[in-house]
Structures are given as structure tokens and as C-alpha cells.
Symmetry: C2
């Protein structure tokens, strides 16, 4: 049940973009310094965030990344689902379940999945950078 480092790097990158939201772009190499990984690996993560339309990019010299929407409108759930295979906790979920008999435990997976998504969607980048989740 581990989150991969993509979750950690992706969220940290987005927090940095949130803090810079009024000021403009940040490049991958600026972000990788803050995040603590290589440019090349963070590139791949930024590509996933872009595909999910969480960040937008400008190519070429003086390019970089910004949040597509404001920190108030961007949730941690959106970010983690983008980089973490939709945060899916188990393959066998819902109607597409291939088990012979319906798993008696499936109700647990479905409701846990919802609990996780609902909780993470309640946290915005804005609330994070303002320290509103520290209590």
C-alpha cells in the first residue's frame, strides 16, 4: 500500500508551482532542485501532470511549467491520481471484477477507495501552502 516516489515528487513540485503561481513559470531543473530528484525523472512526472491538465507548459528558452488552475482550485487528489495510476488500491474493483464469485471483501475496497479520494480532494494546494492542514 505504498505510494511511489512519483506521488512525493509530483506533489512537492506542485506545491512549489503553487507558491510561484503569481510569479510565473518554473523549469524542470528549478523544480528538481527543490524536489530532490533528477531532471530527467521529474520530466516524466511533469508529463503525467500535464496530460491530466493539472499543469501547463511553455516550450523553448524561458519556458517552464505553471499550474493550469489556481492553487485554490487544485486538489491533492487530482495530483496523486494523475501520477499514481488513479490511486487504485486494487485491480479487482466493481463490475469489471474477474473473480469467480464476487469477493465478500469487495465492499471494503470500494468504500476505502472512496474514503481516500474524498479525503484527498478536500485538500487544496492553497490550504497546504497556507499551513491550514497542520492542526
Amino acid at each position: 500500500m505504498k505510494l511511489s516516489v512519483k506521488a512525493k515528487y509530483g506533489l512537492t513540485a506542485c506545491i512549489n508551482l503553487a507558491e510561484n503561481y503569481e510569479k510565473g513559470n518554473l523549469t524542470v531543473s528549478q523544480l528538481s532542485g527543490k524536489v530532490g530528484t533528477t531532471d530527467k525523472f521529474l520530466e516524466q512526472i511533469m508529463a503525467m501532470l500535464k496530460k491530466a491538465d493539472i499543469v501547463s507548459s511553455t516550450r523553448g528558452a524561458f519556458g517552464g511549467y505553471t499550474l493550469t488552475q489556481s492553487p485554490k482550485q487544485t486538489t491533492v487528489g487530482q495530483i496523486l491520481r494523475a501520477v499514481e495510476d488513479n490511486l487504485q488500491i486494487i485491480d479487482c474493483m466493481g463490475a469489471e471484477c474477474k473473480c469467480q464469485e464476487p469477493c465478500s471483501s469487495q465492499v471494503v475496497w470500494v468504500s476505502l477507495q472512496k474514503t481516500i479520494n474524498d479525503y484527498l480532494d478536500s485538500i487544496t494546494l492553497d490550504s497546504l501552502i497556507k499551513g491550514e492542514n497542520n492542526g
Copy 2:
């Protein structure tokens, strides 16, 4: 963020033990049939559940496993933590974090971890076998 099959097999085994709680033991091979895995693999999972004192065993002929406590007192959280490395969602958690600077995203991991544990501890095996979580 995937649960391993140990979570699925372990919980399903425990649900079967809960349904049999008044009647007595179930052997690994009885359980593995219900669960849909091999005896040898389920043995390893039962060993983890026993170490966490969730199940108790009787060795020798006519032996097998039972829940240590009643289905009303056994929670899904206890079971999953026993077989899933304490359900830890990230290594870098709390004071033992080895990051250079404290991760700005750490508040998310800590609170998500608590949300997951609290939720799973609210579900007992008794409520599961009575279908009280289907709504």
C-alpha cells in the same frame, strides 16, 4: 498505492473464520479453497495474522485456525496492518524522516495515513458478514 493479494486473501480468510466463529476451527486447506489461492501461500499469510494475534492456531490432526477475538472485536484495520507492512503509505513518515529538509507534503501523508487507519478500524468482521457496510 496497490494493496497486495495478501490483503485480499487475508481478509477473505478472516471473513470465513468469522462466519465459522461459533462452530470451531478451519484448516488452511479449507480456507485456501474459499480464498482461491494455494495452501502454501495462505500458510504464510496465516502466520502473519497469528503473529499479530488476530488468529490462534491448533497444531496436529484436527487442528486449524480460529479468530482470537470475536468478529465484533476484530477490525479490518487490524487484519490489513498485519499482512500489509502496517499499511504504511510512505517510508518517510514522522520524526524518522531522512529528508534534508522536512517535506512540505509530509502533513498530507500523515493525515492520509490516519484517515485510512481510522476508517478501516471502524469496520468490524461482524458488520461485514452481516452486510452492514453495503449501503
